[in-house]
């Protein structure tokens, strides 16, 4: 048998490194596959029911994040730098149990600007973020 011939050239390909590489690739693809989606929760406030009284006005407690066309941020009427939005929100909501803000963005903005504001609010511990749209403001 050829096996017994000592020192003869070996005709087999050494497949072990090949298998190593393949296994690693296989594992990489298996890990990538079940990527769980991530997301930010938001609420779309529903208009009050017809036969229901409108919610009591408590303007001083409602916090609205307004983002204008240039991407400048206002908290209610108070202009806030983007990087101070989180700390300011934390400061406002430190003593409050109900952590609700509304986000109102200019229609011409990129979605990412608004999403980042929502992200910051989420990071500041706000648990309910409502998206204000023109129709909601019009009370529809």
């Amino acid at each position: 048998m050829a096996m017994n011939v000592g020192g003869g050239p070996q005709a087999n390909i050494n497949v072990t490194p090949l298998i190593d590489v393949l296994l690693v690739l296989l594992i990489i693809f298996m890990v990538i596959t079940p990527l769980t989606p991530y997301g930010l929760e938001a609420l779309a406030p529903q208009p009050p029911k017809k036969n229901q009284p409108p919610p009591p006005e408590n303007d001083d407690r409602t916090v609205v994040i307004v983002i204008d066309k240039q991407g400048n941020i206002q908290l209610n009427q108070e202009p806030v730098q983007k990087e101070f939005l989180g700390p300011r929100l934390e400061q406002i909501f430190r003593t409050r149990a109900e952590r609700v803000v509304f986000v109102k963005g200019d229609p011409d903005l990129d979605f990412q600007v608004v999403a980042q504001a929502i992200d910051v609010a989420r990071g500041a511990g706000i648990d309910k973020i409502g998206l204000m749209t023109p129709k909601i403001e019009a009370g529809e």
């Binding site: 769980t36 989606p37 991530y38 930010l40 779309a44 529903q46 990412q112 608004v114 992200d119 129709k135």
Partner: protein, 145 residues
Amino acid sequence: MQKQKAPAVIGDINVTPMVDVMLVLLIIFMVITPLLTKGQTVELVKAKNPIAMKEADAEDAILIAVTRNGEVFLSPGNHRVTPDELPGKVSDLLTNRLDKTVYIKADQRTKYQAVEDVVDFLRAAGVDELGLLTEQLTSQAQPGQ
């Protein structure tokens, strides 16, 4: 009659079938991976504080994709729709469901106008919980909560 001598025992494992199987598995995974992203592929916003939304991956999850140029696609099915068709179609999909969350997958560079429209029409369908799908920033890896 003399019995023929049996050939010497081969001590090596025959790895060829294994390599075959591995290659096939590898190819299957390579083919499946890009197909797994449901709906339209969009460039998601990168966020620091998103939460895991496993339900968005479900087969019957209501997923609305808004592409960069403001086109709207509704999944399951990945049909192209106009925003004003959404209330009817989404409320059809929502009947008999406990979880009324609708997932929005918007491109980061789409105008907020397009997303606002979708939200408005979803409100008309009675949806009040939205999931804005984002990508998690990995540079500041945090646990999923």
